[in-house]
């Protein structure tokens, strides 16, 4: 297994960040947002997009200050080896949990749509094999997976055209009826879907033209925001309120009203196709967490991959109930919110203080 790290072009950052944001979250986001901020969910999403865009800008400034390290190295650099490793370990656990949440929620979706009776661990194992195979090819392959899966799945967006014929504009009216606090709750809840931009902190060293990175990551973040916005708005216009509150995966239910002359039930095609959408997520989370293991324990990345995969596989026997899953995703969304929406602000402060101390000590 060669870990052939090579540089990738800056525009690849667009695909990496975008594909790691879009995943299982977008299938359920209209409902989650609607439950919180009702008809004004789109405001929450726009706010959340703005927030993410700011954080992205912040992250890139942190990275630029630290001269092209990953977050793992930054932690060691700032907090020292021991405390830094503890921080890194928490991040690794977070990514493992994210990976698991994506896997298990896809498996659940897939079992609901046509594969009832298959054990969960079979699906988990299959997805694990895919991601192990991809990640063992190194960063170049992971990027390639992001890029190709984007190309292979972006056409699914055009499927929205058919539901668009059936929407009713009055459902979103009147606007601005929800209270600001509800809208902010919506922003908070959208975190599970919007997360993924934190990948930036770990791919930075591999990007060729670092000054263009800002542009492409902003495009990626906004593209994701627009996608989420479109799906949410269309879902709100398409479903009646009660129906939207009931559907676990409103987007899939929406796709289920699409039909073509040659395919009767399009959702049965779209659900397997969703593997291609989550595939980059799985690869990136596995890649980052194995990279973290390598950084902490000084072992080969290969062993990290296997170790994490075994942990994930064992987990697949533990959480299998719908209710548990919901709780789990919720928690991940929360932790992710604090970790990647709030924490970078502190990190930015710390790096600035650190660099000021450094320059001062250099002067004296």
């Amino acid at each position: 297994m060669k870990s052939n790290i090579r540089f990738v072009n800056a525009f690849m950052a667009f695909y990496i960040i975008h594909t790691s944001q879009i995943g299982m979250g977008i299938l359920g986001v209209p409902r989650i947002m609607y439950l919180e901020s009702k008809k004004d969910a789109w405001i929450s999403i726009l706010l959340s997009g703005l927030f993410v865009s700011l954080i992205t800008w912040l992250m890139i400034s942190i990275l630029k200050k630290n001269e092209g390290d990953t977050l793992f190295e930054i932690h060691e650099h700032i907090f020292g080896r021991l405390i830094g490793s503890i921080f890194n370990f928490l991040i690794v656990i977070y990514f493992i949990a994210v990976n698991y949440s994506i896997t298990i929620s896809y498996v659940e979706l897939s079992l609901t749509w046509g594969y009832e009776g298959v054990y969960e661990w079979v699906g988990v194992l299959a997805l694990l094999i895919l991601s192990i195979y991809a990640v063992s090819g190194g960063f170049r392959v992971v990027t390639g997976v992001c890029f190709l899966s984007f190309l292979l799945t972006i056409w699914l967006l055009f499927v929205v055209y058919q539901p668009l014929q059936n929407i009713n504009l009055t459902r979103i009216l009147p606007i601005m009826t929800t209270t600001p606090s509800e809208i902010m709750k919506g922003v908070f809840k959208s975190s599970y879907t919007m997360l993924g931009f934190e990948t930036l902190l770990f791919i930075f060293p591999f990007i060729k033209e670092k000054n263009k990175l800002q542009l492409f990551s902003q495009i990626a973040v906004w593209f994701t925001t627009i996608l989420v916005l479109i799906t949410t708005v269309v879902s709100i216009l398409f479903f009646s309120a009660k129906e939207l509150e009931k559907n676990v995966w409103p987007v899939v239910s929406m796709i289920s009203t699409v039909h073509f002359p040659f395919i009767e039930r399009f959702e049965f095609v779209a659900v397997p196709f969703w593997i291609l959408v989550i595939f980059p997520n799985l690869c990136i989370t596995l890649y980052i967490s194995s990279k973290g293991i390598k950084q902490i324990f000084y072992i080969k990345q290969k062993y990290g991959i296997w170790l994490i995969s075994i942990i994930l596989f064992i987990c697949s026997f533990l959480i299998t109930k719908r209710v548990d899953n919901n709780y789990f995703f919720d928690q991940i969304g929360k932790i992710g919110f604090f970790l990647w929406f709030i924490y970078p602000i502190f990190l930015y402060g710390i790096t600035i203080i650190k660099s000021k101390i450094n320059t001062r000590s250099r002067r004296s």
Partner: protein, 375 residues
């Protein structure tokens, strides 16, 4: 590394096959009908496509009694050698009695079952079992396909307001609008056909209007509906009163005009809490005058348009009155009211109360765009 992956793959492949649903093992249900028997038991009738080695016969009709749809399903399952699946289910029929007691609990299981499409058609009939067992249909393999074709034609042209599961449930759950469903007429010796449209209120059927009259509803609910040709009758004295005598009208008491709508635009205008305007403009081409007249100058054309508009408004007024009496709102006036900021707090109960007291003013304008190849 690679070997391990391959090994794992092959292990997975052999060990964990997904449960199979091979096509010829399936009894593919295309239509299911529910009849309410007395004391809360239902009779389910199902038409199955099943592919046996004998080629002539591809369909079977089965019936069973039960208290829930899944129980019926189980009993049906006992009667056939194939697995009954609903992946290709296209239509659900309910008999009128059932519709009177409420069908949403049935629809809930349908929606929960991911195998059942959201685009499945719903329809009301007098007796679902008889309808499915009717053997008079055109060149279709079985009744399910025939009724599907029938409803699909109407759906494609948007001749019905709502007819499929998704539409019905969405409208049902929405505050301020009531769903409708097509009623299928079944008579001996002829193929089933769509007769009229059932009106619902809180999940229960309360009345019906004819398919032609649904055009007034579709003006405001659908964007691209096929309105159907409109025939208007105008009394002769009306014409004279308007000073259209110069048209050299042939002698007749009543004039019938058939119009073909080309384009239309409907808009519900909320004037205030008590008054709602239903504005609509229909562009039409004239198809038929009986007895034949020709409208040439602009002035008389305008008058003619006005006359037709008035006739339509009158008709619409009657229908609205009836809808108000039934307290059902298929047009979605309540929904529109609720979308105004002032009234967005209204609940379903409030709306119902308001609705019966609401003044609704129909305001349909007709524009004769084309007159065919002659004037």
């Amino acid at each position: 590394m690679k070997k391990i992956v391959i090994l794992l793959c092959s292990l997975l492949c052999t060990a964990c096959m997904a449960p199979e649903k091979i096509i010829e093992m399936q009894g593919i249900s295309t239509i299911i009908g529910f009849d309410l028997l007395d004391d809360n038991t239902y009779k389910g009738t199902i038409s199955l496509l099943q592919f046996d080695r004998k080629e002539e016969k591809t369909s079977v009709t089965l019936s069973a009694d039960g208290t829930t749809s899944k129980q019926i399903r189980q009993k049906l399952e006992e009667q056939t050698s194939h697995d009954i699946t609903s992946g290709q289910l296209r239509t659900i029929l309910f008999n009128k009695n059932m519709a009177e007691t409420g069908i949403s609990s049935f629809l809930d299981t349908m929606q929960r079952d991911s195998l059942i499409s959201s685009l499945i058609f719903l329809a009301i009939t007098d007796n679902a079992e008889e309808t499915i067992n009717n053997t008079n249909y055109e060149e279709y393999p079985e009744m399910g396909s025939y009724i599907y074709q029938l409803l699909d034609k109407h759906e494609k042209k948007e001749m019905l307001v709502n007819s499929n599961l998704h539409d019905f449930i969405t409208t049902q759950y929405e505050i301020g609008i009531d769903p409708t469903l097509p009623i299928i007429k079944n008579a001996n010796g002829v193929a089933p056909s769509i007769d009229s449209v059932a009106l619902f209120k809180e999940d229960k059927i309360v009345g019906s209007i004819s398919l032609i009259n649904t055009l007034y509803i579709k003006l405001f609910t659908n964007n691209k509906a096929f309105l159907g040709d409109i025939t208007v009758e105008i009394a002769a004295e009306e014409l004279e009163k308007r000073g259209m005598a110069e048209l050299n009208l042939p002698k007749s008491d009543i004039y019938k005009i058939t119009l073909h709508p080309i384009k239309y635009k409907g808009n519900i205008e909320i004037k205030n809490e008590e008054l709602v305007h239903l504005n609509a403009t229909i562009s039409v081409s004239t198809l038929e005058f009986q007895p034949s007249i020709s409208v040439k100058n602009k002035d008389s054309l305008n008058k003619m348009e006005q006359l037709i508009g008035e006739a339509l408004n009158k008709e619409f007024g009657y229908i609205l009155e009836e809808l108000k009496n039934l307290n059902t709102d298929p047009i979605g006036i309540g929904r529109k009211i609720r979308s105004v900021r002032k009234y967005s707090h209204l609940t379903e109960g409030d709306l119902r109360q308001k609705y019966s007291a609401l003044k609704i003013k129909p305001n349909i304008k007709v524009e004769i765009k084309r007159t065919g190849s002659v004037d």
